[in-house]
Symmetry: D2
Amino acid sequence: MKVDLNSDLGESFGRYKLGLDEEVMKYITSANVACGWHAGDPLVMRKTVKLAKENNVQVGAHPGYPDLMGFGRRFMTLTREEARNYILYQIGALYAFTKAEGLILQHVKPHGALYNALVKDEELARGVLEGIADFDKRLIFVGLSTSKPLEMAEDMGLKVAHEVFADRAYNPDGTLVSRRLKGAVIHDKELIAERVISMVKDGGVKAINGEWVELKADTICVHGDNPKALEITAYIRKRLEEEGVKIVPIKEIVR
Amino acid sequence: MKVDLNSDLGESFGRYKLGLDEEVMKYITSANVACGWHAGDPLVMRKTVKLAKENNVQVGAHPGYPDLMGFGRRFMTLTREEARNYILYQIGALYAFTKAEGLILQHVKPHGALYNALVKDEELARGVLEGIADFDKRLIFVGLSTSKPLEMAEDMGLKVAHEVFADRAYNPDGTLVSRRLKGAVIHDKELIAERVISMVKDGGVKAINGEWVELKADTICVHGDNPKALEITAYIRKRLEEEGVKIVPIKEIVR
Amino acid sequence: MKVDLNSDLGESFGRYKLGLDEEVMKYITSANVACGWHAGDPLVMRKTVKLAKENNVQVGAHPGYPDLMGFGRRFMTLTREEARNYILYQIGALYAFTKAEGLILQHVKPHGALYNALVKDEELARGVLEGIADFDKRLIFVGLSTSKPLEMAEDMGLKVAHEVFADRAYNPDGTLVSRRLKGAVIHDKELIAERVISMVKDGGVKAINGEWVELKADTICVHGDNPKALEITAYIRKRLEEEGVKIVPIKEIVR
Amino acid sequence: MKVDLNSDLGESFGRYKLGLDEEVMKYITSANVACGWHAGDPLVMRKTVKLAKENNVQVGAHPGYPDLMGFGRRFMTLTREEARNYILYQIGALYAFTKAEGLILQHVKPHGALYNALVKDEELARGVLEGIADFDKRLIFVGLSTSKPLEMAEDMGLKVAHEVFADRAYNPDGTLVSRRLKGAVIHDKELIAERVISMVKDGGVKAINGEWVELKADTICVHGDNPKALEITAYIRKRLEEEGVKIVPIKEIVR
């Protein structure tokens, strides 16, 4: 039994610092690196890719909306062609840093509002997937577990990884409970660990209404933006390993 | 006897259109494509790379300062590390579009104020050249004919192309006469053609003070932003061919 | 009988030129000047305000989404607080130029996708109106004729101008037919003039399905981005004057 | 004997937080608020102006280069017209927030590389000062103590405040020792306090080479971006008050 731990990194910008990247790198197997549109800049990208290399962590592109002021968390209407080429641009930009550091780009995980918009908008999803396929069909697309875009990606010949969220409540249909609703984010370390183990070993978890949601867990999204998040991440890793789950990068899970 | 004709293209942005790219593509052998920092956006980059492909024109990256408002024509102090990673980012972004269209990225030519700043600032030049080498040592660096950065690039194992300007007056030291000075830009079609032929066949041209400047002409910068510029470009090409000069892409000149 | 003619101006940016501002100024009474977020920059704003002054045209702010790449034509989710302060920022920026040129800022008309989003989203509308009221309650809010935000603005003590569109088809509910649908934009000069006269004199126009839509026409949106648009604008003005309608700025209509 | 304490605030952006604004507000009398170009955004500007109001602190505009990625700390060539209108834009933007909160804008202090560039470039200085005068001649221009732009400002009819830096070493000509040189920044609390007292009471301070530099101290720049800086700021204030120096806003010093 194997699972990947991924985290969003490289989100600093210019003089602005965000995230405990040096710390969280020790616990994860895949890093989603911001590409300069919603966060990150070339110096940060270089530094983050180097850091991943030193920690033997796989690197993926984390493209987002062109919205630094909103950190890519605000929905924007994009046409399929815009989505396709915005994704392509950002993948290429990050690829340059992995190439410079002698690494292979492993995956692509859209960021924030774009990640969520994909699930509901097939045209947008198609644009994003075309952007990935345009660059390299060997890139792994990371999307919301059991969601439609993963199926579309497979139909296009892309490899996919089903992603689950360690600290988020689920609706019965497998979507995440909106952050605006009560109970959307889970803070209890023990509960988080139990849910993660359930998702990995039992193929599902209890939804916010108590129903069972079937999920596939190729990779688990964890955080490292503050000491508490870091502690939870370390604990998740420890508990999974105690349960005999191997923590390996996505490319060793998805083939 | 061979020479390349290059032009700066893909400079439109969003709803803003600039340049007669479709027209000028017919006369040139190498296109310098803006990478979204001083001009260009992902849709424009895609379209421009496609257009180059259709016209059998080689594609190069045309990275600039992060200054859309100033069109990359204003000097900015950058550290070597900033220059290195800013260039790397932009090359990667454009590379994605050449990859998507099945083309090989041929060269890198810095834009505007950055192009000029390189000639005088060795640290900056080193940063830019490191950014190119980080990505791929087979990329050809296009710089001001006989300038120091070309020598530095060769020492680093990069291939280089010496660039001359069809419509610009030269100082006796081989630098361009500043646009702010009288006589900096030459408008007479016939004179332009004669100067270009002199640069290609005689290895030099008369400077603004009448002295002879030795130059090497691997590639000639031509324009296509208005009908007059286009006419001059077509005329330069015709006259060079009449003189028995073959117009071929940089990669067939620089080996 | 009086009506204002307004047009979106100052949409150039850096080296990018858009619109025949010098020409269209001759026919209009109110200019909506872009504030640097979706279009425009400080040099363009200064020039446009000066041009308005020379032509005795009233100036209003034309704030938009922070989306230069999309020209403010793409919907973005904004909170009420974001909308309020984004509007306030842009009004202030433009105000500086009117102050420098000795003019009084007359009105505020949101741009593009923001203009349309207001009509459907009360929270967003409230944010935008609060931004206007925060700056100066004497500013006139220009919105889609008979739409809800105009009513909300009046309840807040703002003055309002009902805007109609010369060349756009209407739905029976008074909203504009989406540009993506056939027949959304009207190109026939004569038809446009007749519809405008109907809106001003008869207080309504035929909707796309043939039904009568009641509208209030304080100000008519006209264009000047190309010679054809300019010709239509001149013709509208001529025809209105022949009908005895006086063309005066919004402030002489709304009191 | 009176002096103002000023600090650069409102430098957060979007999700990025910078500075202990809430804390430093307690010790200062004038706040220089970033205007969204090198730092700050409309939500941050609103919050910062409110905070200043609550703390009875005067507000000034802190305009900078259009360079968020470089935090306005990189030199850029601007023409006089660009400088004039860039400053005007940013003053207007901030003015909107002071107007919304019922405050009077007190001063303008250029930021970072622009602040320093002014001292050496008369054309640039003229542009900046024209931008201020265009908006309101009652605004106080804050510049490097005894520098040329202050003289120019007075000749133009602007009020001026001579600024000194609490923690920076001076060259014998009154300019600041470059941050890149050893000894440029002073860290010892006691030494800082003594130097500040010397500048305020004795009209000068020892330069880095031991020579005496005559300075005028209308306002002292202090910091609050980390707990140590805050402690120094509190200590400076305490020591000045013990020496009988009154800490009052610029407008009570400059008349």
